[in-house]
Symmetry: C2
């Protein structure tokens, strides 16, 4: 069996998330269907992880196995021809047979984009989250430092998940001011349900002066969801890339 | 009478252009209606110029006159409260009574954004024009030089306009490669109907190797629309800013 690794960009607005589910438009299902149409084999597309309804990806990674000798260099254009333009296969590579997008995922980077202009951008209104109050980016950076490392992130997860452990490692958090945007970029070995959106919501409150930076340490230690900030909406969140060992 | 100058951002996709017209959603009409609702006066909103259906603006400028002493600093938020989020007033300034957005417009800058990635961006698909063939940006820069200056741009205008003269001055054309995008930015004292989209379409053919750069000079001199390239679609075009004397 050949094992094919895809790098995928999508606009999450039209989809009920990555995961396949009946009667609701989803990214995994759309791509599996496209592969079956062009390659003629029913496949299981294994994503590096789910993204929720409305969340975007520049670099989601997924793999699938086929018997076909369909040329690797023609796979993106062939699959894309069957997809709406809100999903684009950006790359296809043949990888070794034991490669698994979820098990071998080493780290992931997400970005949360805040439009910090006074009145909000008309053009990017659906691709960023607008906050008019000017944010204190230095305070956000200070607060973010407490989250880097291996921690129990129970305070930063929504209920309704079945993860056994709430311990994850965050390798890095960058808070970047780019013109009128504030971008929170987080790299970790894995993320709990809504974790990036809750961390972003909490750091946003730090930036607004509602939470002192050092309180992040206490929120983390409390291991209680209610202590952290609100879950920011999906449309500002992007899965940027996935790294493998 | 107070004279109020607005700087306006809009996502052109939902509108049949700037100009007021019955039974078709347009930007001028939407803003005039919003002003009337919040200030209570029927106004004429004078734009620096029309933008066509589907064209975006980061910095359209328009002015209107009122008797009301409505505080200037509250005007953007008040008007925005009555508008869909695809139009945002970004700035309001009180200007001298004789200021006229169209007559006093000194120069305008438009940008045409080409997504030059292999398969096209899913996320920016409606905000850029996708061309997969890698473009020769140096050739495009060479070709663009022939267009700078005062010229008769008859070769670069669509029919159906009533402009008396086809002579315009282009002050500057920048062709910028920004990651996988190629941005054509043009500053001039005014533009004929579809002029920026036809210039962009012609420079695109230069970038694709279909027209040698120096042929731009011959196309310009021919003063025949058929000699130039195709009119690129509206959704890649942005009115960036308007300068006044």
């Amino acid at each position: 069996m050949r094992n094919i690794k895809l790098t995928i960009e999508y606009d999450g607005r039209e989809y009920h998330g990555w995961q396949k589910q009946p009667n609701r438009l989803n990214i995994q299902g759309e791509i599996e269907q496209a592969i079956q149409t062009v390659i003629g084999e029913k496949v299981e597309l294994i994503g590096s992880g789910r993204t929720d309804a409305g969340v975007h990806a520049f670099g989601q990674v997924a793999n699938f196995k086929i018997e076909s000798d369909f040329p690797i260099e023609k796979i993106p254009i062939a699959i894309n021809s069957q997809l709406k333009k809100s999903i684009r296969i950006q790359k296809a590579e043949e990888v070794e047979e034991n490669f698994h997008s979820r098990y071998h995922c080493h780290k992931k980077t997400y970005a949360y984009i805040i439009d910090n202009s006074q009145y909000g951008s008309a053009i990017y209104r659906n691709l960023t989250y607008h906050v008019s109050q000017p944010l204190d980016v230095e305070a956000m950076k200070q607060g973010a430092k407490y989250l880097v490392g291996e921690h129990d992130f129970s305070s930063f997860k929504s209920s309704g998940t079945s993860s056994k452990s709430s311990v994850r490692t965050i390798y890095n958090i960058d808070i970047m001011k780019e013109q009128e945007r504030v971008v929170i970029q987080i790299t970790g070995n894995g993320f709990l349900y809504n974790m990036v959106r809750i961390i972003s919501g909490t750091l946003l409150e730090v930036g607004m002066g509602e939470i002192p930076p050092k309180e992040i340490e206490l929120i983390l230690k409390a291991k209680v969801r209610q202590r952290a900030g609100k879950t920011l909406p999906a449309h500002g969140l992007y899965l940027m890339n996935v790294d493998f060992e």
